[in-house]
């Protein structure tokens, strides 16, 4: 079938999987995961077909796959929606399809498919383990299957639909639809174990925080429509429209229209990709199951924020002459660089294995945003793709570690041991080798281990662009952040895998099933190899062996291909030093640390994330609660509105009573009574006069009257 049809159909299988699972197969566990995995596989297949076809097109940036339909009539014109696969979305669909499929397969094992039902498991709480009796009569506690198994697959199916919709859209509207669907699924999945209050709160926090960004994004979209009467990318991002937008000025901050729109859209990304100051939701989002953290909060949803900025790059850089950053770009670059460093410092002091990775994600997203702010388009896309692969790998690896630890916890029965705390682990490389090696590959990729890992190539390109364009402050910040990245990653690996087990549970950990380790292996292949498609041509020794396909392919998305900077030794040297140095220092410091007390870097400020949660609670959450509870509810609603209505009711009642008492009873009744009474009285007074009972009296009276009448009659007749 034609490529456009395939593109239209890409989001469909996960959506169908969602509906089928929810409506029909909720009770059947294997049927549900089969439907979900098959749906992901179908979308993966479609994406691969599209990608391969895209590779075969010459000058793909000019000849894109596109199809749109008229959707909303707006007066004489139509609002069109449709699909678009240009180089940027082709590469995005590639990594999205792979990561989604790997995570779907991983989830089967993560939720303990095949294990017995738990002893006390309830829907809404994580599974606690089931007691089985083996052939010797010994009872063991083993991990139990997740009670809400099918629901999970339905939700991640819906999520996959949202992500695919976002990536294949050719207009801001359907992109925003996909964006919001993912926001919803993020809420549903963070709060998957809704029995835990921490999970519920984290879900609400995530939703609220990203909502703040989404409001501004919607304003940006509205502004776009207002300025250009269209929402599709081809209409907005062509040269003519961009020059118009960049020359109209707005009264806000002296920005041009293009600058203001891109700033508003960027605020959406701040929320979605957890940049400072809206970063607070991502660490708490680790309450969700690990596949959720991997997919949503590492590979796809947070990447969607960066994808939006990349997509809107022509708008953001309208007015960029290649040297002097526009105001918006400066803001973007500042926030990105700041976040990168900020999050990296916090990650150093975290003990939970997933929290470290969460802050790491924030930091790496900061790298990408900073790159975009500087105008390093291709570097940002490169890092986006490689980060998706190795971060997903790292999260899935951490899930595998946690699973192993939980097995150990159930085996020993010591439930005070937190299976996610790194200081309870240690020596796991012997117990869980596949997990160890894949995690190591991912960690090295994250740190930027030279040559062999994809992360090195992408991070190095960002640093090179920063240095080459003269943004030395950003360069320095990112370099320090890279050093810290390597440091805390090695810390994590050392504490978790190296050394000796620190608790009994760690001693009894064992490797996880193939459904969990296979995705790890596949992803590590990408984490190693993907970098080699983007080796700069001028790189010493290695440059030129493989063409810099990535730069050509992705750079074709833009109207003018981005220039290739001349090679400079400084950034290369810096990245080598920070990467290797950070790894060494990390291993050296932590190789003998036995417990958290010995960790010298547990600064309170860092551990408590610079108290940002507390600050926000004081500044925003508590006033909001006060506003809702006291002002809106107690004051406005109960006192004023209800009081008003009750007052009206009371007034109506007193009017009624008053009416009754002062008008109805005396006047109306009185009148009636008066008539009756007076008639009676008149009758009583007249009766003795008229009704004597004597017939002669009656006869005299009547005869007198008769005579009078006759006389009068004859009188008047004459």
């Amino acid at each position: 079938m034609s490529t456009e049809t395939i593109i239209w159909l890409l989001p469909l299988p996960p959506l169908l999987a969602f509906f089928i699972i929810i409506l029909f197969t909720n009770k059947g566990k294997s049927l549900s995961h089969c439907i979900a995995v098959i749906a992901a596989a179908l979308s993966w297949l479609g994406s691969m077909v599209v990608f391969v076809r895209a590779l075969g097109v010459e000058h793909f940036g000019k000849e894109v796959f596109q199809s749109s339909i008229n959707w909303l009539p707006t007066g004489n014109t139509w609002l069109k929606i449709g699909v678009l696969i240009d180089p940027l979305s082709a590469i995005t669909i590639f990594f999205v399809a792979w990561t989604v499929l790997m995570i779907f397969v991983y989830s089967v094992g993560y939720h303990n498919y095949g294990q017995p039902k738990g002893d006390h498991d309830r829907k809404g709480l994580p599974p606690h383990g089931a007691t089985i009796i083996d052939e010797n009569g010994h009872s063991h506690t083993v991990p139990s299957i997740e009670p809400m198994y099918s629901r999970f697959f339905a939700f991640i199916g819906l999520f996959a639909f949202g992500m695919y919709t976002l990536v294949v859209s050719d207009n801001l509207l359907t992109m925003f639809v996909g964006w919001e669907i993912m926001g919803l699924c993020s809420y549903l999945l963070i709060g998957f174990w809704f029995g835990k209050p921490s999970a519920r709160n984290a879900a609400v926090k995530a939703f609220m925080t990203t909502r703040i960004g989404d409001v501004f994004m919607l304003l940006g979209i509205a502004f776009v429509y207002y300025a250009t009467k269209s929402l599709s990318f081809r209409d907005i991002l062509n040269e003519h429209t961009l020059s118009v937008l960049s020359s109209t000025t707005t009264p806000i901050l002296g920005l041009s229209a293009a600058g203001l729109i891109s700033l508003l859209l960027f605020i959406g990304t701040i929320g979605k990709s957890a940049q400072f100051p809206l970063h607070v939701w991502l660490p708490d989002a680790m309450e969700g199951p690990t596949p959720v953290s991997a997919m949503i909060h590492a590979a796809t949803m947070v990447s969607a924020g960066v994808y939006t900025v990349i997509r809107m790059f022509p708008l953001i850089s309208a007015g960029f002459d290649g040297y002097h950053l526009t105001t918006t770009m400066s803001i973007i670059a500042f926030i990105g660089a700041f976040t990168a460093l900020f999050a990296a410092t916090i990650a150093v002091a975290q003990n939970d294995i997933k929290r470290v990775l969460a802050y790491s994600t924030i930091s790496q997203l900061g790298f990408m945003i900073a790159a975009l702010g500087m105008g390093a388009y291709v570097a940002a896309v490169f890092h986006l793709v490689t980060h998706a692969f190795f971060k997903a790998l790292l999260f899935l690896g951490s899930g595998s570690v946690i699973h192993g630890m939980e097995h150990g916890v159930l085996h020993t029965g010591d439930h005070s041991v937190d299976p996610q705390d790194m200081f309870n682990m240690g020596g796991l490389r012997k117990k869980m080798p596949i997990t160890f090696w894949t995690f190591l590959i991912g960690g090295f990729a994250l740190s930027g281990f030279p040559v062999l890992t994809a992360g090195f190539w992408s991070k190095d390109e960002i640093l090179a662009d920063a240095f080459g364009n003269g943004h030395f402050v950003i360069f320095l910040t990112l370099a320090i952040a890279a050093f810290l990245t390597a440091f805390y990653t090695m810390r994590q690996i050392t504490l978790t895998f190296l050394g000796t087990p620190r608790t009994k549970s760690a001693e009894h950990a064992h490797e996880t099933p193939w459904t969990m380790t296979l995705p790890l292996v596949i992803l590590s292949v990408f984490a190693i190899g993907f970098g080699w498609v983007g080796i700069p041509d001028k790189f010493p020794l290695l440059g030129g062996i493989l063409p810099n396909w990535f730069h050509e392919f992705v750079g074709g998305t833009l109207a003018e291909a981005p220039e290739v900077l001349p090679f400079n030794f400084m950034p290369l040297l810096t990245s080598l030093v920070v990467a290797l140095g950070g790894l060494l220092v990390g291993w050296f410091v932590y190789r003998n640390v036995r417990s958290a007390a010995e960790d010298k870097l547990q600064f309170k400020l860092l551990k408590n994330k610079y108290y940002f949660d507390e600050i926000y609670d004081l500044l925003f959450v508590k006033p909001a609660y006060w506003f809702a509870e006291t002002f809106a509810y107690k004051f406005l609603d109960q006192t004023i509105i209800d009081g008003f209505i009750n007052r009206i009711g009371g007034v109506a009642q007193s009017i009624g009573t008053g009416f009754r008492r002062y008008f109805d009873a005396p006047v109306v009744n009185g009148f009636g009574d008066f008539l009756g009474e007076s008639t009676k009285r008149i009758g009583r007074k007249m009766a003795p006069i008229i009704q004597r009972g004597r017939i002669q009296y009656y006869m005299v009276t009547s005869l007198t009257v008769a005579i009078i009448v006759v006389v009068l009659y004859f009188f008047f007749k004459a």
């Binding site: 009704q691 017939i695 005869l703």
Partner: protein, 103 residues
């Protein structure tokens, strides 16, 4: 023959008025009934004179007078019976004392 009708009519009018006076002015109930008899007789005279001085062939004047006789008789009988009954109860036949039918 030679007596004008007017003489009869004046006579009956006079008799009627006298009877009326008796009805209105006498105390005793029986005396009231006597007055009524006079009035009825006046009526009869009227009827017969009109028969005689009007259409002799149509005997209805006399028939009417006979009916009046019968009615007068009946009325006297019942009236006196009533008076006797009342007298038994109240030992009075003075009309003015019989005034129970008032408010």
């Amino acid at each position: 023959m030679s007596i004008p009708l007017s003489w009869y009519l004046i006579l009956s009018a006079a008799l009627f008025s006298i009877g009326l006076f008796g009805v209105l002015a006498r105390k005793n109930a029986v005396a009231i009934l006597l007055g009524i008899e006079l009035m009825l007789n006046a009526v009869n005279i009227n009827l017969v004179s009109f028969w005689r001085y009007g259409n002799i062939a149509s005997i209805s004047g006399q028939v009417f007078a006979i009916i009046v006789f019968a009615v007068a008789a009946a009325e006297v009988a019942v009236g006196l019976a009533l008076i006797i009954s009342v007298y038994r109860r109240r030992t009075t036949v003075i009309a003015n004392d019989l005034d129970l039918l008032k408010w």
